[in-house]
Amino acid sequence: MSRIRLWAVLLLLGLLLGCQPRGDDAALMGDAEAAAEVARLRALVDGAEPVNAENFECIQALRRRFPQAALVEDTYLGALYKRSDWGGLIAALGEQPAAKLDLKRSKWLARAYFRQGDYPNLVSLSDQLAQRLGDDYELLKLRALGLLNVGREADAGELLDRHWESVQARADVDAMVLRGRAHHRLQQLPAAIEKFELALQHAPGNKVALNALSRIYYQQGDSARALALSERAAATQAQATAQSTERLQLVNRLAKMQEAWQQEDYQAVLEYAEASVEQVRGENRRAVLQYIIESNHHLGRPEAAASARAELEKMQQ
């Protein structure tokens, strides 16, 4: 990539990220190799692949070289977020005055506090942000969650009530459930039931609403209804768990397929590949088909290889 193109990419990234140019930014842009590395890592952070330890170390190395470069810092923060390193994100952002955080970083920090379960700091941050940023819907919800979890259920409920039109307009089931939980905590059971039922109208399998309703009916002595709701929640959960398990098993099979390839156990490669091929799409499917082709070749099965190759060519058309 030419230096001019790199400059353009980095400038565009900077504009998109809302970064203010700092001293190290100029130094970074003057170092073609480093600039290319930042662009690569930025693309990684923004893409679908995970940020593995090696790439994370690359980001940290750049950060050591260009401690004031906004693009590097933003890439680092994005990597922490992507790696679900909430403690790291809080350490990096939490020391800064809320007034200096832009909206994106404010949200990252708020989400990190939520993920970390640091509700007092979430509320404190949202107190400061509410004055500066106005009514950002996500921040409002995070604030409501924080309030609920520091024992300010009435405040959480009042906040959601003030924005109830937005909740309804968005058909925001999570917010409906949250309102129901605030009522439930305050033992306002009829109102809690109403909100949970409303959530279930939009999302009949909402596990939180089902579980909460089952607890309320159990408390009210209606065990049969409670157990029926609990069973519905369990069925929903079982479905979600099965989906997660299926994905985990797919990853496991693909890992074992690669191991078998390295061990030149082509029969095993075929077994893993054939068990996986219908569950993968795009590049993954093309790669798995190629494993099938190559393994069949090694096993002296040209017809099977040809069949897989035909499928691959069909995909590539």
Binding site: S84, Q116, G151, Y218, A234, T245, E283
Partner: protein, 588 residues
């Protein structure tokens, strides 16, 4: 192989790694939000609570051997349990530590033996493993104790990864393997925590065995986080139903799991707490399941048991989500007369405090009571309520340590070895984390698993033992400035001899303390059965009400502080000195 294939292989690696990156890594999901509920903060504490590391001076030189391998086989990371019980009946609590082994070896390596340490009463232990013929086989997990044959000597039950559990009869001078003789049979499934209890109240101890999941060493699956191979998530495996063995009284046990309804409700059980939560003289059995709904079984003498975990509010976090649950215990931590439940969980999941608001109606209050935030920073296993400063309020000790030995690669803020947590009960319904102020024993960072408590050195203050994965076990002595105490060793006559299931109410002025003899709690472990009452400044317990499992209630008055008492059902209190108890163990 052509270039295009190389390119596609690379694409597959990165794409499936992306898929891995979205998936889970261990006993829980660190990528999901924690369980919110309400928060209360208590300012940084000053405390007189002090625990010193007494591992060396105690003589307990046990090292756990996990046999960890690059294959990252799940049992290697689970650790094992510790039991504290008076095996030689001298009035001083002894220690059994289960060991792991090597999953790929035919036999347990000699260096990975289970160990028995006998106590002289002053907290000095000697190894009696060989003298008492304590066996070691398979890959060890949990320990349970109870006097199943009512001969006065507590017996031992060891659980194993391969399900070949062992019931060891205590003769008073050694152990005899009676597993086959009593009819306990293995089905090859991974058993974890176990506990003796008398669910049918016939005076004979039955046995609950918690079981985990179907794991094959030969075909172990792989889990990745950010492209890094980590110990696998339980989500990859099928759950295994728990088992209940009923003691028939003729020297045999019968598997009654099917009739009780357990086979239809498999979880991924790691821990067990058994006690009478609502004071109705029947047991409630809490099973902590890993990435599955926890269960709260209402036991019954006659018909199938009912799981009310979900409807009672004790199965999930506050949002109705399953957690990576590892340990469990009961206590009336807030002194309202109803036992509450605590459950240790995965990193970023709070240690649950299910407060019993009305009989069998719970609300998760970890954040409200001050346990939430700091517990989310740790991955927790063993857990035990115990009164560290003898003020009558039960405090909370938690054994911590991650399940990914390479977690530091994926996180700047999470470590494999972690310090354990001690929460001091303020007595107003709130806890404060005093781990950093409570002495050197709590500063140690390890991969802690099993945990049990007892007064090991006979000074009236409760100590603890923690089993650490692939490391030395820790013995810690309590050197806190503590209040007065009474220690009560109960023995049933009509009730089971271990008095498991006995519930005791101690009235001290206006205060009412409640304690139970629990046959199971924590993780893979069991604490001393003797009941400890911290009296603070009080000189006596004004009234002691003992609800024996037989249904008898016994009342005693004016019990002087500062003593260890032995009480046989229907008899009188006898003071004793730990290590010098001389009563004969006779058949009832």
């Amino acid at each position: 192989m052509n270039d295009r294939f190389e390119h596609q292989r690379a694409a597959l690696v990165s794409a499936f790694a992306a898929l891995c990156g979205l998936l889970l890594g261990g006993c829980g999901d660190e990528s999901t939000a924690p369980s919110p509920s309400a928060t209360a903060t208590v300012s940084a504490p000053t405390t007189s609570v002090r625990f010193v590391d007494a591992t060396e001076v105690s003589g307990v030189d046990f090292k756990h051997h996990a046999g960890r391998s690059e294959l990252k086989l799940m049992p290697e990371i689970m650790g094992s349990g510790v039991a504290i019980a008076d095996f030689d009946r001298d009035g001083a609590p002894d220690i059994v530590l289960a060991n792991g082994g090597n999953l790929r070896a035919e036999q347990r390596p000699a260096h990975a033996a289970n160990r028995l340490f006998l106590n002289d009463g002053a907290g000095r232990f000697h190894d009696a493993t060989v003298a008492w013929a304590l066996p070691s086989q398979g890959y060890g997990m949990g320990v349970a104790v109870g006097d199943y044959d009512n001969d006065g000597f507590v017996d031992l039950y060891l659980t194993h990864f391969d399900g070949n559990d062992q019931l060891l009869r205590n003769t008073g001078a050694g152990f005899v393997d009676v597993t086959t003789k009593v009819g306990i049979e293995s089905d090859g499934m991974w058993s974890t925590s176990a506990g003796f209890f008398d669910y049918d109240r016939d005076g004979r101890l039955d046995l609950y065995v918690t079981r985990y999941l179907k794991f094959s060493v030969a075909d172990a699956p792989k889990t990745f986080r950010n492209e890094l191979l980590v110990y696998p998530t339980p989500l990859l495996f099928e759950p295994v139903a728990d088992r209940v063995w009923r003691n028939l009284g003729d020297g045999r046990f019968e598997d009654v799991s099917a009739g009780l309804g357990l086979l239809a409700a498999p979880g991924k059980g790691l821990a067990l707490a058994i006690g009478d939560l609502d004071g109705n003289a029947t047991d409630e059995i809490y099973v902590a399941n890993d990435t599955a709904a926890n269960q709260l079984w209402l036991s019954s003498h006659t018909g199938p048991w009912q799981d009310v975990g979900a409807v009672s509010g004790a199965a999930f976090d506050d949002q109705g989500r399953e957690e990576g649950s590892m340990g469990a215990d009961y206590s009336d931590y807030d002194g309202d007369g109803l036992l509450d439940i605590t459950v240790s969980n995965f990193q970023l999941e709070a240690t649950s405090i299910y407060r019993q608001q009305q009989p069998l109606l719970f609300r998760e209050t970890a954040d409200l009571v001050g346990v939430g935030l700091s517990s989310r920073a740790r991955l927790s296993f063993g857990i035990d309520f115990f009164d560290v400063d003898n003020d009558g309020w039960e405090d909370l000790l938690v054994a911590n340590g991650h399940i990914e030995d390479n977690v530091h690669v994926n996180s700047d803020s999470v470590t494999f070895a972690q310090a354990n947590s001690l929460y001091l009960n303020h007595g107003d319904g709130r806890f404060v984390d005093i781990s950093a102020q409570a002495g050197a024993a709590l500063a140690v960072e390890a991969v802690s698993r099993g945990l049990a408590t007892a007064d090991l050195n006979g000074d009236g203050a409760l100590d603890f033992v923690i089993s650490n994965n692939d490391a030395l076990a820790q013995v810690a002595y309590n050197q806190s400035e503590a209040g007065n105490f009474v220690m009560l060793w109960l023995e049933g006559t009509r009730s089971n001899r271990s008095a498991i299931g006995a519930r005791v109410e101690a009235r001290i002025g206006e205060r009412l303390l409640q304690r139970q003899v629990m046959g199971a709690q924590s993780y893979l472990s069991v604490s001393d059965f003797r009941l400890h009452f911290g009296l603070g400044e009080a000189e006596q317990i004004d009234q002691l009400l003992i609800h024996w499992p037989s249904g008898e209630t016994q009342q005693l008055t004016d019990v002087a502080a500062g003593s260890f008492y032995h009480l046989r059902e229907g008899g009188q209190l006898q003071a004793f000195v730990p290590g010098e108890f001389a009563a004969e163990a006779t058949q009832q």
